[in-house]
């Protein structure tokens, strides 16, 4: 071939490479249409997966969330995601998966968890600003900033009182401060009481008898994990369940009257919420894996996120695995759509 023709051909071929850049979304745009679902927050993928309980199918990455997502909450046909890094709450319509304008909580807050007081107001814990925020969900504004304790993290609402767990974390090279739970009047935002609980309280769940169970992780050293039980009638600790290990989240089974405390990467510890008998401790873990997220559904089934395997496992109260679902990267918080 004539050398100049060869040169020309190569140049044309080279130019054609430039048009290879067009790419389409290979995942398509399928969205689930279901009224019964478990929602999964995939923390590394910063996305949401939907386990459609009607079709028993998983839809992965149906929506993307913000930076350092921490919690999913389902409320009134909407799904709320608390983004710690983005300092906001994202809101999704669970039928269309359209995202509304997020609720900005302000820089330097590091929101962790939220709980709805009613259809208008929700409370959000902020671990960096040591606050609990009363957020007007209709106006999408912060109505009141309430000072809680150091490292405000877990939250539960009982009646007109908001319970906020304060980890007491002040730095990796410093000992934890006394773990506390701040009790706030939900209507006027005043702090009613501060209750001393175990070391490093993280998460709060309400049992069938109305008592609040606080999982306290401990300090990974001399002070192992406990569950502090608060009676909302007196706002005092009525029981300390010395379960050991390093529990993170807590979920209560209202059907079988059990409390499940997840231990990251290792499974769950279980005790009775009626007589506080320990059924599974750190030496005898329930499930034996997962624990980055936990939820007990309205039928008493336990759903556990398995971070390492990118799975969510459905288990019954005896520990039998009923089904394993492959979800997105690094699943964490779970929420149930109640029909």
């Amino acid at each position: 071939m004539n050398q100049k023709v060869w040169v020309l051909c190569v140049a044309v071929l080279f130019t054609a490479f430039g048009f290879w850049g067009c790419e389409d979304d290979p995942t398509g745009s399928d969205t689930p249409e279901t009224s019964s679902a478990i929602y999964v927050l995939n923390s590394a993928a910063t996305s949401i997966s939907v386990i459609d309980l009607e079709a028993d199918t998983v839809y992965n990455n149906v929506a993307t969330v913000g930076t350092w997502p921490n919690q999913l909450v389902y409320h009134d046909e909407k799904l709320y995601c608390v983004n710690s890094g983005s300092n906001n709450i994202m809101i999704f319509d669970v039928d269309t998966w359209e995202a509304e304008t997020p609720i900005a909580l302000g820089d330097g807050k590091n929101p962790m968890n939220m709980a709805f007081y009613n259809d208008r107001y929700a409370f959000v814990t902020c671990s960096m600003s040591n606050q609990v925020l009363k957020v007007d969900m209709q106006e999408k504004t912060v109505a009141t900033e309430i000072t809680a304790g150091t490292g405000a993290t877990g939250i539960a609402i009982s009646g007109d009182k908001v319970y906020v767990s304060n980890t007491g974390y002040v730095g990796w090279d410093q000992p934890y401060e006394q773990g506390t739970v701040t009790v706030v009047n939900a209507t006027n935002g005043e702090v009613i009481k501060t209750i001393d609980v175990g070391t490093n309280p993280q998460s709060i769940a309400i049992a069938s008898d109305g008592k609040l169970h606080v999982s306290c992780t401990g300090d990974y050293g001399a002070n192992p994990g406990v569950a502090s039980v608060i009676d909302p009638a007196t706002d005092t600790v009525v029981e300390t369940v010395e379960i050991g290990g390093a529990p993170g989240m807590i979920a209560t089974d209202l059907v079988n009257e059990l409390a499940y405390l997840s231990v990251w990467g290792m499974g769950c510890m279980v005790y009775s919420t009626t007589d506080y008998t320990i059924l599974n401790d750190s030496e005898n873990m329930f499930l034996g894996k997962g624990g980055s997220g936990i939820l007990v559904d309205t039928e008493g089934y336990v759903w556990v996120s398995v971070w390492d395997d990118d799975q969510v496992v459905k288990v019954n109260s005896t520990g039998t695995v009923l089904k394993t679902y492959n979800v997105g990267d690094s699943p964490m918080s779970l929420a149930q759509r109640i029909y």
Partner: protein
């Protein structure tokens, strides 16, 4: 001592030089010039075939070989970039001086003759090396307004600069899909990768005193040891060959968008046998560009300022005369900066700051040893780095301060064994030290190594082939932190033709990345800890390509290379038993095609360059099903760079275009999290004028001409349209 013996000894001493000079021996002297230009050629190796006698020509082209026993000889003249010439049957008689003046022809006439020193550890024509090499002249018009190394490297095929946006933010390099820690960055042959992180922040490397930059793509642990999985970047500062003598200097001032101002000056002087040069640069930028946040709101990038000072000094001299002249060089560099560290836009840090200080000292000795066939290079170096990061807005308050120090010595000998064979070999020792000022933790790593590379140009006449270059290399590393390593590599170049040069090249080698101090010794807290049992990451790569250099369009150059790299035991920080710690868990396969094209439709007036890289980098670890066979994060499949440089009399201009395809930001390739492709256009215009010994240059640069809003890294905004104007006054 008896009186009679003392005068005798004195006489012997006085006569010794005469006796040793070989009284009665002959000599061959002459002048060497370039056939094309008639200019004298210095540093040409002249030697008598089959002997160890020889000389190197001086800068005026003169040479002299002394102490030649009477007889007939073949005289060989050899210099890189020129055809080797042989003169057989040169007869030398007792006491005779034979005059032999020689003209040498360049090996190629129609295109640039870039010389690389990085790919084989010795000066070699790019066309003779199997490796894929780019040689960038920092004086080229397109680089006139670059503020740091990252801005220069971003247009090379196979290179992706992970730019966190703005002048003050971190910029790291990815070569052929590697991580930043898998690329060795050298400053005059000395490694400057931070032993703490394994990476180099290109934004802290100004171009002060830099003459050229060489980028060798593909693994090179066989020559440079740990971390050369993706390749090697060698920043080469100005050498004394650049100067004509007397006093020279320049002052350059630049004003730019976002409150950016810089002032640079250089001074070069030649005082007797001493070459002195110094340069300095001051840069200040507010960096307050506007961007659109994730919810469509226009915002200003605050706390993105930078203030930096760079100093570079060099002292060089020649010791002795003639063949064994020793070239001694000392260089010092200092960098100091303070910058805002806003981090991502979610969360945004308004008060976080970073401080960096770096010092470098280098001593280099070059000399012939034994004969003109053996060249010694002895380098002693010291490099220290101090960094501080302060952030009181994060959940974990941070005020970290680290010091790293590196010192070492390396000896290298380059020997011409035959006309067609050169052997380079050497060894070195190196100490890396790190101190964490917060925890008072100190770490020391000791390493030693041996390396050898052989360059063989075989006159193979098969299938019309003219020449076969065979370049095997091998390195052995001993290290106090991880097991010893052998790193082999072999490269081949098949050459057809001379003026119409077609080359087929291939390489294959093993490489590795060493675990960093952070990987090994990160202090244990409740969430994380280092892993002192880590092994190095392993790489096995090969590539094959074609290179065309044709005497049409004023030098047509095309190169296309297919490459594959298999990585195993990659170090990933993951949760194990409740703690985040690094483990050798991941594996990956990276393959792609690099293409580059260059020609000049109008000689010296219009040059077109383009490159296109296709890359497919995937996770191949089946133990993480959600990530298996997914594309690695921040590895674009397609990258295109096009530039057109024009020059008319005193005016020159450059238009450049860059296209980067979609990048995934998470390991499972969530499309909605991926970053959109972007296309950028930049334009430069410059004007040069000369008056007596002064030269004035005005350069204007419009970066991101169409104000495209894009991100290279998720949640890290990049400035939109940006102008820069510089004025340079230079005294020649």
């Amino acid at each position: 001592m008896p009186h009679k013996i003392r005068p005798l000894l004195l006489s012997i001493l006085l006569l010794l030089p005469v006796l040793l000079s070989g009284n009665g021996q002959g000599r061959i002297c002459g002048t060497i010039r370039c056939h094309e230009s008639g200019a004298p050629l210095g540093a040409v190796n002249v030697y008598l075939k089959g002997t160890s006698l020889g000389a190197a020509s001086e800068s005026n082209g003169n040479y002299c070989i002394y102490d030649i026993s009477p007889g007939d000889y073949t005289v060989i003249f050899r210099m890189i970039g020129y055809k080797t010439r042989e003169f057989p049957g040169i007869s030398v008689s007792e006491g005779e001086t034979v005059t032999l003046d020689v003209y040498m022809n360049p090996t190629v006439l129609e295109y640039d003759q870039d010389i690389t020193v990085t790919s084989t550890r010795g000066p070699t024509l790019v066309t003779d090396v199997p490796a894929s090499v780019n040689v960038l002249d920092t004086d080229a018009p397109e680089y006139q307004n670059a503020q740091n190394l990252g801005e220069i490297l971003q247009n090379i095929q196979g290179v992706f600069i992970k730019d966190q946006g703005g002048l003050g933010n971190t910029k790291t390099i990815s070569l052929r899909g590697s991580t930043a820690g898998q690329v060795v960055v050298l400053l005059d042959g000395q490694r400057i990768n931070n032993p703490q992180t394994g990476e180099v922040d290109l934004s802290t490397l100004s171009l002060e005193g830099v003459e050229k930059i060489e980028v060798v793509r593909g693994s090179n642990s066989a020559l440079y040891g740990a971390d050369a999985i993706g390749g090697v970047v060698n920043i080469i500062t100005r050498s004394d060959e650049q100067k004509k003598g007397g006093l020279q200097g320049s002052v350059k001032t630049t004003g730019a968008s976002f409150g950016t101002f810089s002032l640079e000056s250089t001074v070069d002087a030649k005082i007797k046998r001493w070459d002195l040069s110094g340069s300095g640069k001051y840069l200040h930028s507010r960096g307050d560009f506007t961007f659109t946040d994730n919810y469509g709101q226009k915002k200003t990038r605050k706390n993105a300022d930078i203030e930096s000072t760079d100093l570079h000094g060099r002292l060089a001299t020649s010791l002795g005369e003639g063949l064994f002249t020793r070239h001694l060089e000392f260089t010092l560099r200092h960098h100091e900066s303070e910058r805002g560290a806003p981090g991502t836009i979610e969360p945004y840090y308004y008060r976080a700051r970073m401080w960096d200080k770096q010092n470098q000292a280098n001593m280099l000795l070059n000399s012939k040893i034994f004969s003109c066939l053996h060249e010694l290079r002895w380098q002693n170096y010291y490099y220290d780095s101090w960094s501080r990061y302060f952030n009181d807005e994060s959940l974990q308050k941070v005020d970290s301060r680290f010091t790293t120090r590196t010192g070492g010595s390396e000896i290298q000998v380059r020997s011409i064994l035959e006309d067609w064979s050169t052997l380079t070999y050497g060894s070195g020792i190196r100490l890396d030290y790190m101190q964490d000022h917060q925890t008072s933790d100190e770490r020391l790593r000791t390493s030693a190594y041996f390396f050898t590379v052989s360059e063989n140009q075989l006159p193979v006449q098969i299938l019309g082939m003219k020449k076969l270059s065979l370049v095997p290399s091998l390195r052995y590393d001993w290290n106090s932190d991880y097991p010893n390593r052998f790193s082999p590599k072999i490269g081949l170049v098949f050459n057809w033709g001379e003026r119409w040069l077609t080359s087929l090249k291939m390489n294959a080698g093993l490489s590795y990345r060493a675990p960093t101090f952070n990987d090994l010794y990160w202090p244990e807290d409740v969430w994380t800890k280092g892993n002192p049992n880590l092994s190095p990451e392993n790489g096995m790569d090969w590539d094959m390509g074609i290179r065309l250099q044709y005497p049409v369009l004023n030098g047509f150059y095309l190169e296309s290379t297919y490459f594959e790299n298999y990585l195993s035991d990659m170090i990933i920080w993951q949760e194990t038993d409740g703690l985040w710690m690094p483990e050798n868990v991941q594996s990956a396969r990276i393959r792609g095609i690099e293409n580059s094209l260059k020609f000049s439709p109008l000689k010296n007036n219009l040059t077109f360059q383009a490159n296109y890289t296709f890359m497919d980098a995937r996770n191949t670890n089946p133990e993480s099903p959600a990530e298996y066979e997914k594309i690695l994060v921040y590895r674009p499949k397609h990258t295109v760079n096009v530039s057109l440089t024009a020059r008319i009399l005193h005016i020159y201009g450059t238009y450049s275009y860059q296209y980067v395809s979609r990048r995934y930001t998470d390991a499972t390739n969530v499309w909605k999290n991926s970053l959109d492709p972007y296309s950028l256009s930049h334009i430069s215009l410059g004007y040069e004028m000369a008056y007596k010994t002064f030269r004035l240059t005005v350069n204007t640069h419009l970066k991101n001409l169409f104000d495209t809003e894009y991100r290279v890294i998720k949640n890290m905004p990049v400035p939109g349209r940006e102008w820069r104007v510089s004025l340079t006054v230079e005294k020649k």
